[in-house]
């Protein structure tokens, strides 16, 4: 076992794949843009879903599967989703064994809460910082393998590009040390991308500043197919802010929080009014559109602004401390009001990309040897993700991709070390040349300002409500920004610790993916999950029960479409004003 | 367990046992002066006539003092105080513990050279008159006052710190109670010590 597997990304998916590989005795190079403990996974709040049925409500993996497919408006391929849901309880047990501090029932079992779009309480949680707790546990396991010498961590390194051999297979990575800006090449038999979502394309979102999607964009620009890019989740509740829209977990509603605005001088609980069967527990796309309607169309937002109340003042303060302290603290720190006493004011915000790199059921992209897992791939959420499913999807994908990459690399006839060194040198030289060109950019545009402009256009036109004329105008705008990109000035800041040049590089990736999102939305003339067009208000299964696949070309993305795997549940109309009917398990 | 762990723990312990105990005994003996000159001289001479005195002095006093002092200098050196930015009560005490350590060290050195070794290694001539003559010089009196307060403070706060370092007081409440306790020790020692000091004047 002389080969190397390289993992890019130290979030949940990446760390889980590292553990799976190291457990098999495989040596792994792990690259992460930030120390793994600071990955964006820490921001996940609400919890992780699994049908463990500890409340005796009669939950089952089939119900969880059906909720997920239904919540995703039938766009997800059903086979991998079903496999994931069935593995979910064992995933919870595994991370529990690793020491994740999940909340407990009085008897000492795992406590569960209910999140939107779910019929049952199936979200296991660690206060309101579940993602943080999960990543710490996986990080600790990886540290153990590091201690045993199986894993080498390269923290604060960024992926620049892939090394592809003559047959097009991925054979390694060109990476950069973010301190010295040194560029190096690392040969590998298989490369796993677990690099998270591209939320920074919107600038203001619930995402971390590192979520530029650059690694995925880079793979896309080197021939990897990007799927379902137009499906971007807008979370119903975040604190508005100029630098960031801070997420207020769905678990707030799950634990009894109510959403309202004043109407005719009286509180109006519009979600409970419009969706009596689910009330405040409707899925995110539904809640977000309702809030938009109330604020934008009906002009009933708090103080006339785009805000609604998210109210927990009626809940028991001790329960709040036990289950929601993490988020309540954030609100207190950044706003100054105590949510136990004053209703919070929140508004929807860009949150999660259901789309991502296209992968097969083995998590391999269309580039042989390049795998993807976590938010950077598209596989598990369809057109809308249910709260609590991202964490399970990230860990599950990591559990699948590790062994699959291991199998793949061991099945190779020629290991990366047997390949001519010139292949790697060439790839490295290419990036060094590109970097020199970046440093030579001395125009008048400021990359951060261009980014700001991109974000404003994307938020205004490619989020909750989408109109074709605005989408086309946005694509025009992105192309204009791509023109202006050429006249960026990076100043004369030296290489060491330089942050402008790497940012400028990422900006190009963001612009490229922004086109994939915008044009993907433009082409899809229907409404499905998070993608809503007033001109095409209904789901159109006949024409659009399809996976969008975007391929990079010099003239912008080229789109093609694949049928969706619906082998277990027949698509049916998705509605939340009445209880979801029970489907028969035929699989 | 590394040597550093052992020596560090021993440093904390040596400040209490035997040095703290010795300090209290010392103040108790000094207090004999409050009952008059004769009483004090009798007490001192009794003390000087116990068997194996040199052994007690060496093992219970001098070696622990030397160890506590020299290791302590090392501990003080390893610290970078930051009281100007972190003005918390405990940080103040931490800082004062180091300041008082230095004062106490200077004071004790001067005190021992001046009294115990005033006439060579085997000097046994400490009498009320001798001490009284010294303390009636205002400068010496003030220096003694400072030295006493520093050593009492150092001991009392060291006692609190010892209770934490040895894992005796763990909870916040226990540590707070211990802090009150160590303050009481400081007050009592100060009262007794100063009362004895003034008896020579």
């Amino acid at each position: 076992m002389s080969g190397k597997v390289t993992v890019i990304g130290g979030g949940l998916a990446g760390l889980m794949s590292v553990i799976k590989l190291a457990e098999r005795g495989q040596k792994v190079d792990l690259f992460s843009l930030v120390p793994c403990k600071r990955s964006h996974s820490v921001c996940a709040q609400g919890g992780i879903n699994a049908a463990v049925n500890t409340k005796g409500e009669g939950d089952s993996t089939w119900e969880h599967f059906d909720d997920t497919i239904y919540g995703g408006d039938f766009l997800a391929n059903q086979t991998p989703v079903k496999n994931m849901i069935e593995a979910a309880p064992s995933i919870i047990y595994l991370v529990d064994r690793m020491g994740v501090q999940f909340n407990r029932t009085p008897e000492g079992f795992l406590d569960v809460r209910r999140l939107g779009g779910a019929k049952y309480s199936r979200t296991v949680f660690a206060g309101a910082t579940t993602g943080q707790q999960l990543i710490y546990a996986l990080d600790e396991q990886v540290r153990r393998y590091e201690d045993e010498g199986l894993v080498t961590r390269y923290e604060e390194w960024e992926l620049l590009s892939l090394v592809r051999d003559d047959e097009g297979c991925c054979r390694g990575v060109v990476v950069q040390d973010m301190k010295s800006l040194d560029i190096q090449v690392f040969p590998a038999d298989a490369v796993i991308l677990a690099t998270g979502g591209p939320g920074m394309i919107y600038v203001r979102s619930t995402n971390s500043t590192i979520n530029t999607g650059f690694a995925a964009a880079s793979a896309y620009m080197q021939g990897a197919i990007y799927a379902n890019g137009e499906f971007v989740q807008i979370h119903p509740s975040a604190i508005p802010g100029r630098d960031k829209l801070r997420l207020m977990s769905e678990s707030i509603r799950g634990d009894g929080g109510r959403v309202w605005v004043y109407k005719d001088g009286k509180p109006w609980y519009f979600l409970e009014d419009w969706y009596p069967a689910y009330g405040n527990m409707v899925p995110r796309d539904i809640a977000t559109r309702a809030i938009f309607k109330v604020c934008v169309d009906m002009k009933l937002g708090v103080e006339g602004e785009n805000k609604v109340y998210l109210d927990i003042t009626h809940l028991d303060p001790h329960d709040i401390d036990r289950k929601l302290a993490g988020v309540v603290d954030i609100y207190e720190k950044f706003i100054g009001d105590d949510p136990r006493k004053v209703p919070m004011e929140t508004f929807p915000a860009v949150h999660y990309s259901m789309g991502g790199l296209w992968v097969d059921y083995n998590q391999m992209t269309n580039i042989p040897g390049l795998f993807a897992a976590g938010e950077c791939e598209y596989q598990y959420h369809g057109a809308n993700r249910l709260g609590g499913n991202s964490l399970v999807a990230a860990i599950y994908a990591g559990m699948v991709v590790g062994p699959k990459a291991f199998e793949y690399s061991n099945g190779l006839k020629q290991r990366c070390n047997d390949l001519p060194g010139s292949l790697f040198e060439r790839a490295k030289e290419e990036e060094i040349t590109k970097q020199k060109a970046l440093f030579a950019m001395q125009g008048k545009e400021n990359p951060y300002k261009l980014h700001q402009e991109l974000g404003e256009w994307m938020v205004d036109n490619v989020t909750v409500v989408r109109n074709n004329d605005r989408l086309l105008a946005t694509d025009q705008k992105i192309q204009e920004l791509m023109e202006r990109y050429k006249t960026i000035g990076v100043g004369n800041s030296p290489e060491w610790g330089n942050q402008i040049v790497p940012f400028t590089r990422r900006l190009w990736g963001m612009l490229s993916l922004a086109r994939v999102i915008t044009l993907g939305a433009y082409h899809r003339n229907e409404s499905r999950g998070a993608h809503y067009k007033p001109d095409f208000p209904d789901r159109d299964d006949e024409n659009w029960l399809k996976t969008t696949k975007a391929e990079w070309t010099a003239n912008g993305p080229h789109f093609s479409y694949d049928p969706v795997d619906t082998s277990f549940i027949k698509p049916r109309k998705r509605r939340y004003d009445v209880a979801k009917e029970v489907t028969a398990q035929n699989g | 367990m590394s040597h550093s762990y052992f020596w560090r723990k021993l440093h904390s312990l040596s400040g209490i046992l035997p040095l703290g105990i010795f300090l209290m005994v010392h103040m108790f003996i000094n207090s004999m002066a409050t009952l008059g000159q004769e009483n004090f001289n009798r007490g001192v001479s009794l003390l000087h006539n116990i068997p194996y005195l040199w052994f007690f002095e060496l093992v219970v006093i001098f070696i622990p003092i030397l160890y506590h002092a020299f290791y302590g200098i090392w501990v003080v050196y390893l610290t970078r105080n930051n009281i100007e930015n972190y003005r918390y009560f405990r940080n103040w005490l931490f800082y004062l513990q180091r300041v008082s350590a230095v004062i106490t060290l200077l004071f004790v050195t001067w005190h021992v050279i001046g009294l115990r070794f005033s006439e060579g290694v085997i000097s046994n001539n400490i009498t009320f008159e001798f001490v009284s003559a010294a303390l009636n010089q205002p400068v010496i009196l003030v220096l003694y006052l400072i030295g006493l307060l520093a050593s009492f403070g150092h001991f009392a706060n060291g006692l609190w710190s010892f209770l934490v370092s040895w894992g005796i007081t763990v909870g916040e409440q226990a540590q707070r109670t211990a802090a009150y306790g160590s303050f009481v020790v400081f007050i009592i020692l100060t009262a007794v010590g100063i009362n004895a000091l003034l008896a020579f004047i």
Binding site: V34, R38, V42, C43, Y93, L94, R97, G99, F102, R104, E107, G108, D111, G127, T129, Y136, E140, Q141, R143, R144, E155, K179, G241, R242, D243, K244, R322, F334, G336, M399, N446, Q452, G491, N492, S493, W496, G497, N498, I500 | S2, S4, Y5, L78, T79, R80, N82, N85, Y86, Y88, R90, F94, W160, S161, V164, S165, W166, G167, V170, E172, Q175
Partner: protein, 248 residues
């Protein structure tokens, strides 16, 4: 109402170069925090004199105080820049890199030592493998609540910065990894490796180097009960030391 804020930033081009101070004036907006102010410098890299300068380098990711990246010294105290609201700070606002870690550039420091320390004290639970072995041990809600407080540590470095015994002269590992030993040792499975972690804490630069200044608990943004953990482990290591000596 147009209002400006003034930033005085300690800068340094690289680990070897000398540091210097540069001032910036930035337009104010409500609920502004220090990260948002630094972002304005990126967009408009002019110093207070109006000269073009290199934008200030700093670390940040989550902007909601869970990742720990943006820790720096703000008006003399270590804290996260994202949750440092301008309205609550005295002006001019002084920004400086953490002093207990090597500076990379400007406000960016290298906190690798903190992760190395976690490795040193073996802060992980030894599971047999990732295959399905059913549920983990049952834990009472009370024990979980205590442990959860410890597991919120985001390795941000505030406690290291405020600790007078953590500095270039000493080897002290600082409060953060000690609390993680407490966390791991309080877990039913983690307790199986309890003694190994205690021994790690009893090595050079370990728990005995704590001088009880207790600044750590005051500055910890996540209110991790650090001093309690330290005292608990003082007790545990004392017993362990005595026991192993008598068992020699």
């Amino acid at each position: 109402m147009a209002k400006d804020i003034r930033l005085v930033i300690k800068r340094q081009a690289n680990p070897k170069s000398a540091d210097y101070v540069e001032e910036f004036v930035i337009p104010y907006f409500p609920k502004m925090n220090v990260v948002a102010a630094l972002m304005e410098i990126q967009k408009n890299p002019l110093n207070a004199k109006g000269d073009v300068t290199t934008p200030v380098a700093w670390d940040c990711n989550c902007l909601e105080e869970v990742c720990g990246a943006c820790t720096m010294v703000i008006n003399g105290q270590a804290r996260q820049a994202c949750s440092a609201l301008v309205d609550q700070l005295t002006q001019p606002i002084h920004l400086a890199p953490l002093t207990k870690f090597p500076v990379v550039r400007d406000l960016v420091v290298d906190r690798k030592v903190m992760f190395d320390n976690l490795r040193k004290v073996k802060a992980w639970i030894e599971v047999d493998g990732t295959h399905d072995m059913g549920p983990g041990p049952r834990v009472s809600p009370k024990v979980q609540e205590q442990a959860y407080r410890l597991s919120k540590c985001m390795t941000c470095g505030c406690c290291m910065e405020a600790c007078p015994n953590v500095n270039p002269k000493s080897n002290f590992i600082g409060p953060a990894p000690i609390a993680q030993v407490d966390l791991m040792n309080s877990h039913p499975t983690g307790a199986l490796q309890r003694e190994r972690r205690l021994e790690a804490l009893m090595t050079e630069g370990g728990i005995a180097d704590c001088g009880n200044a207790q600044n750590c608990i005051k500055v910890c943004p996540k209110e991790v009960p650090l001093t309690r953990s330290i005292a608990r482990l003082n007790r545990a290591t004392t017993f362990h030391g005595i026991k192993s000596w008598f068992n020699k």
